[in-house]
């Protein structure tokens, strides 16, 4: 068994694909559809065969309720790791993303938080080196 995929709920898959590729800089990996069902994933260009992030439509009440409550509590729906959180912050901000937290030192890491416009907060994490 391997962990190859994780899922994030989104309110609109077309919008999410634009945000995750054009703003965050990921690349589309798999995209197929069966009627209104659509399997859509992105990966990091640094790791094209690495873990995929599935952009899954939140079209059921449980998904919507979980997503909204998580967002309102300020909890990130996903965390991405980077070697340069300040650089990514500047780059992603310049492409129009709204950050709810600029790069901030926390225990063992520097983190930043942004709104993915699809119903989620996303945390960028750079582990501290000691």
């Amino acid at each position: 068994m391997k962990i190859k995929l994780t899922t994030i709920l989104v309110d609109d898959q077309d919008k999410a694909l634009r945000f995750y590729t054009e703003v965050l800089g990921f690349a589309k990996k798999t995209d197929f559809s069966q009627g209104p069902y659509r399997w859509l994933t992105v990966t990091s260009p640094e790791e094209p065969n690495g873990t995929e992030l599935q952009l899954s439509l939140n079209n059921n009440p449980a998904a919507k309720a979980y997503q909204q409550a998580t967002f309102q509590q300020g909890q990130p729906a996903a965390m991405f790791f980077t070697d340069d959180v300040k650089g990514d912050y500047e780059r992603i901000k310049a492409r129009g993303a709204e950050f709810t937290k600029p790069p901030t030192d926390v225990t063992f890491a520097t983190i930043a938080m942004l709104n993915d416009t699809c119903g989620n907060l996303i945390q960028l994490t750079q582990l501290a080196r000691y």
Partner: protein, 181 residues
């Protein structure tokens, strides 16, 4: 061998694509040797839909104003879409939404049979796949109406079925979308 094992799909035909702004519509036409009344029942009755359609309906789609739940069959995770019947003029015209897609079915009497036309909007990358999938569904529908049901071929069954790959390629070529993007 059963009829299902004997089943082969014919060449890609009877499909068109229309582009209106950003919206792509797939139009599929199939002539059936069965009356519009019979075809209408197959399009609206959940017990009939289960034999050929790519979704299960939790109630009849034959009454205007009905809101039904449509479950995509074979999706990698459970996927239920709401459908509201917007038009149901039996046995001529049926309109409802399948999630965010509009489905319009027209049944025209031709001789003793029916010319069935489906209009459905679809994402551009999926047009040829959708045409191939509906092509197979219509073949299975034809068997059902003829009294020799072979069981629906959708989702993974359609992809495993050799004809789907060929139909997908043939429709992509017909629509001039060899490259998916």
């Amino acid at each position: 061998m059963t009829d299902r094992e004997h089943y082969t799909s014919g060449p890609a035909s009877g499909a068109q694509v229309r582009k209106d702004g950003d919206k792509w519509t797939l139009i599929l036409v199939r002539e059936l040797r069965h009356s519009p009344e019979k075809v209408w029942q197959a399009l609206t009755d959940p017990a009939h839909l289960r034999e050929w359609a790519p979704f299960d309906a939790d109630r009849s789609l034959g009454t205007v104003g009905t809101t039904a739940k449509l479950t995509t069959v074979g999706a990698p995770s459970p996927h239920v879409s709401e459908a509201t019947v917007r038009r149901a003029d039996a046995p001529r015209m049926l309109e409802y939404n399948w999630g965010r897609f509009d489905m319009r079915w027209e049944l025209e009497p031709v001789g003793g049979g029916t010319r069935l036309t489906l209009w459905t909007n679809i994402g551009r990358p999926f047009i040829s796949m959708g045409a191939a999938g509906w092509h197979i569904c219509f073949d299975v529908l034809d068997h059902l109406l003829s009294g020799t049901p072979i069981g629906r071929i959708v989702g993974p069954d359609a992809i495993k079925f050799g004809g789907w790959q060929r139909l997908n390629a043939e429709y992509a070529k017909q629509f001039g979308i060899d490259s998916p993007e």
